[in-house]
Amino acid sequence: MSSHHISSHFTLFGVAGALLVLTFLTVAVTWINIPEPYNVIVAIAIAIVKAALVAMFFMNLYWDSKFNSIVFLLAILFFVIFVSITLLDTLFRDAGLPIY
């Protein structure tokens, strides 16, 4: 079992440094005006990269039993199901169906 992985100082400080850079980046992109849908996409994309860094290297998923990663991804999957199916209602509430 490789789950007793001991991270090196290099990894830990490197990841923390990357997270700080990305935090600066996510603030910095609001100074330039990105048009409407893309600004949200950029912000979320940066957040996802940061979260992935934390999960993989701080939470050791990269070295851990793969099943733990599956468990975590399952949570994300069901959150996405929750959001997308609810949006199926709320975005189309006034639209009606063309066949009626």
């Binding site: 079992m1 099943f67 399952l74 949570a75 069901f78 199901i81 929750f82 199916i85 609810t86 199926l88 209602d89 709320t90 975005l91 189309f92 509430r93 006034d94 639209a95 009606g96 169906l97 009626y100």
Partner: protein
Amino acid sequence: MAESTAKTLKIREFPIDENPKHTYLNAEKGILSWLLTVDHKRIGLLYLGSITLFFFVGGVLALLLRTELLTPAQSIIDADTYNQIFTLHGAIMIFLFIIPSIPAALGNFFLPMMIGAKDVAFPRLNLASWWIYILGALFALYSIISGAVDTGWTFYTPYSVQTGTAVVSMTMAVFVLGFSSILTGLNFIVTLHKLRSPGLTWSKMPLFLWSLYATAIIQILATPVLAITVLLLAMERIFGIGIFDPTMGGDPVLYQHFFWFYSHPAVYIMIVPAFGIMSELISTFSRKTIFGYWAIALSSLAIAFIGFLVWGHHMFVSGQSELSSVVFSFLTFFVGVPTGIKIFNWVATMYKGSIDLKTPMLYALAFLFLFTIGGITGIMIGALSVNVHLHDTYYIVAHFHYVMMGGTVIALLGGLHYWWPKMTGRMYSEFWGRITCGVIFVSFNMTFLPQFIMGSQGMPRRYFNYVDQFQGLHQFSTIGSYILGIGFVMMAVYLVWSLFKGPKAPSNPWRSRSLEWMTSSPPSHHNFEYTPVILHGPYDHHKPMREFRMGVAQEAAGHGETVEHEKT
């Protein structure tokens, strides 16, 4: 762990002690040894006692409702009390009885035994889950004393925000009970992954455990959403945060999305463990290998997954978008596929089996009959156009009682009789068991079959009064419910009698091949005095019994799932 992969285990047969002196029942004495136990078997019995209590309370409330419905106008209680009683009947039966029923009582008792473990992975969390359950029950009790709830068990906004009844304490009860359910599910998943005996691969796991595994996944993924839902509802009442309240720009339909994202998967928390019991009963009493093992096992997981995609079929007339209604209706039909697979496989298992009509098998047959009615009517009301007609009528009431009571409760009773000798060490009366099963089956149909007819003719659910034309059917249903109540009293009498006067049970009265029967009745404190080794599947009735009683000849060997075994 790595070095044990290549190691072969020396195994030998371990004979079963038919007259055990030391069992889990007399391992420790005193009331505290029960209330503070970390033994999964005792916790299972604590749960069994608790759910029996709440089934009784919920049942009495149901009889009160049926009595009130004897006449079209007021009979014994006023309309406000009626609203509170049907709410409490629903809330108690769902959150305090049926959700914890099979997993937390029978599952807790038998899951570790079926995989040859000494306990669940986190025994103290297991005990905590029972105490949290009791805490939740106290919250519910407080809510009842301080004004009860009249919103229906679904707590729909905006009414639940406006009503003067004790909604906050009841939602807190639901919040707390959710944690209890989560802890049980968490424990089961980890136990099944990490504590299986040598040789017990996923393909040799009893189907009851596959169903508990699927159930645990739903508990983990759905229950937290219930927690946040009732938290938001409580905040809505306390601070008026305006997320669900239309007077503040909120959206009540959003509440329904939140609520049913949990509560639709939750109906699979209720029914999927019942499927697992069915697989055990039907194979054992047909004395035949289960037909389509993997189909049954994976269909449980399929139901768990599809169950998350269909919640909107509770909201067809709530004002959600037409597009989502159509999609939800379409997806709902898919639930029927894995469920149908299970039914066909059970019937195929019985085909040409040597069927032994003992009481548990009678319950299994009753389940097949009643659940099929419940399931097929479920497909009907999943159809959008039919649903608009039948929505919120007695047709719905009849449908979910056929599924929940005709399905889950009947399977629970079957499982209870099946495992009664193992849990208590005593045999119940087979004669009275069969009679009672017949009484319950007939009276159940008397109670709920008329409700399909009334519903299709337009009798709305949750109504205090009704038009005169329904009186005959309502009275027939009420009489049926009284007989049903008598049936349960009969069962309580002969089961309690068996505890004191019943003949001693042998270790394996049904000649099952599953691991929980390969130890004494009742089991010892640590379930097995050795580390069991599994060579065959749990339904291999054609293999000799002694090959199911193997254990590691010398201790201090590995326990991991990767251990190879070799017959001596």
